[in-house]
Amino acid sequence: MWAYWLSVPEHWREIPARYRLEGGQCEDCGFKMIPKRDVCPRCGSKNVKTVKLPRRGRVLEYTKVWNPPRGYEYYTPYVIALVELEDGTRLTAQLTDVDPDEVEEGMEVEMVLRKVRVSGESGLIAYAYKFRPLLK
């Protein structure tokens, strides 16, 4: 299966979004998205500019994953969540630094950069955003 080995160019071109939360905003209807798209998914406008998204948000929905895909075995169980950022932008991310049983809807979270996937001992380390409960 090809996906054992992470594609370097694929991760590399996603770095602005994965490291710095750079997304898109429609200049016509204002809708914000990650990643940036050429066409606004809400109004169809092609005027979409690059914007930096806020680092804080809240958990809309979550699940504790017990049955992982290849490459995520060692992290299991982990939490996948739908997160809504402060400006309303939504994304899918792992939660980290949290007891999976303490996660709840509405939990306030902030972006951190963590290892998301690693290609074995010799391949790429793919860092990207995860979210953790706000530091107290």
Partner: protein, 382 residues
């Protein structure tokens, strides 16, 4: 446009076919279907499959299967739309006939899922139907998205986890007499609550298992067949955002709503014209939302229907009389063709063990990914 008929069907049981490869499964089902239709001259082969590239390392299935059927020279191609590949391939195949490009088409759906025996590998293959770079990369699986939909559904409609047992219980009950089913046994509600979590609150018994299988049907411009014919009277298709996070609602499948509406309107039909339904129960909660989106019940009320006698084979609204994805099995890209093949047998009174008596018309729903590509067909007795 010309009418399209199903004039023959062939199935293999769904399961672990350790000794059969993807080409063997496809060939076995195809030969059965062609023999059932008295071996018409096939103008086109349409192969439905979702995972052969990633699991088998084999693409170019169109040519491969025509080759192994001894039919080289016959035009052939593969159609892919994740879990709805079978139904999408049927749209393609029917289109060839309607347009006059072909008179007889062999439609074969095949999926070989067990060649990698670790769940991690299957999960990775199944994750190809969600958005790779912004869902799967982060560790999300198709199951984990169903799990979030389930938790939202529970909260929104105040439903307990136990209640979802109704879906697998129904599917297993119906599959228990289906000779082609992967799981031919009934399920106790207690077993549901004891089953392990895949992604909380989604449990092992909420979701289909991994299985191999192939189903084939012959689509024809002519209803003349020794085994009888069933008319493909309508179809509808709609798409949605592939990724869950882009959607306005987590507990709705608008593509299901739209595809069903298109299919019914196209043939000027109402739900009351339908004798039974085949839904895409890729998880218990997905089954419930589909039932609601079709308009069979109000939102949040589908469990009552699934739990009642109405959803049984001899009830008023039979759902998945052959056991559905959960218990008949879900060989991903082949499932849509299984639905058509089983419905052909139903509407020609040949559904051994699972016959819905007097059924006239059926609505078939296939939902690829997390209902991001939905295809509906209406089939009726001629």
């Amino acid at each position: 446009m010309r009418d399209v008929y199903v004039v023959g069907a062939g199935l293999t049981p769904v399961g672990n076919h350790w000794r059969l490869g993807i080409r063997d499964l496809a060939v076995q089902a195809s030969i059965k279907a062609m023999e059932a239709a008295d071996n018409p001259k096939i103008d086109y082969i349409v192969v439905a499959n979702a995972l052969s590239g990633i699991v088998d390392g084999q693409e170019n299935l169109g040519a491969l299967i025509s080759d192994y059927l001894g039919m080289i020279g016959t035009p052939s191609l593969k159609v892919e739309a994740a879990g709805a590949s079978g139904a999408a391939a049927a749209v393609t195949a029917a289109g060839l006939i309607k347009s006059g490009m072909a008179d007889n088409v062999l439609l074969v759906g095949v999926e070989k899922m067990t060649d990698y025996t670790a769940l991690e590998d299957s999960n990775m293959a199944l994750s190809t139907s969600i958005e790779r770079e912004y869902e799967a990369f982060f560790g999300a699986t198709l199951e984990s998205l169903h799990a979030m939909v389930m938790r939202s559904y529970m909260r929104k409609y105040n439903v307990e986890e136990e209640a979802f047992a109704a879906v697998p219980v129904l599917m297993h009950e119906h599959a228990s007499t289906n000779p082609y089913a992967q799981f031919k046994f009934k399920l106790k509600r207690e077993s549901y609550m004891r089953s392990p979590y895949l992604a909380e609150p989604l449990k092992l018994l909420d979701a289909p298992s991994i299985g191999d299988g192939a189903a084939a049907v012959i689509l024809s411009v002519s209803p003349n067949s020794p085994g009888g014919a069933v008319r493909v009277s309508s179809w509808g298709q709609a798409t949605d955002h592939v990724s869950l996070y882009m959607r306005k609602s987590v507990t709705e499948f608008p593509a299901v709503r739209l595809a069903v509406k298109r299919a019914l309107e196209r043939a000027d039909l109402k739900l009351s014209d339908i004798s039974f339904y085949k839904i895409h129960d890729s998880s218990s909660v997905a089954a419930l939302i589909e039932i609601e989106e079709m308009g069979l019940t109000e939102r949040g009320k589908a469990i009552e229907l699934v739990d009642s006698e109405d959803s049984r084979r001899n009830g008023s609204t039979p759902i998945n009389p052959d056991g559905g994805l959960k218990a008949r099995g879900h060989p991903l890209g082949a499932t849509g063709v299984y639905q058509i093949a089983e419905t052909y047998l139903q509407l020609t009174d040949k559904a051994e063990g699972t016959q819905v008596s007097g059924a006239r018309r059926a609505l078939l729903l296939s939902a690829g990914g997390l209902a991001s590509n939905v295809v509906v067909h209406v089939l009726e007795r001629v």
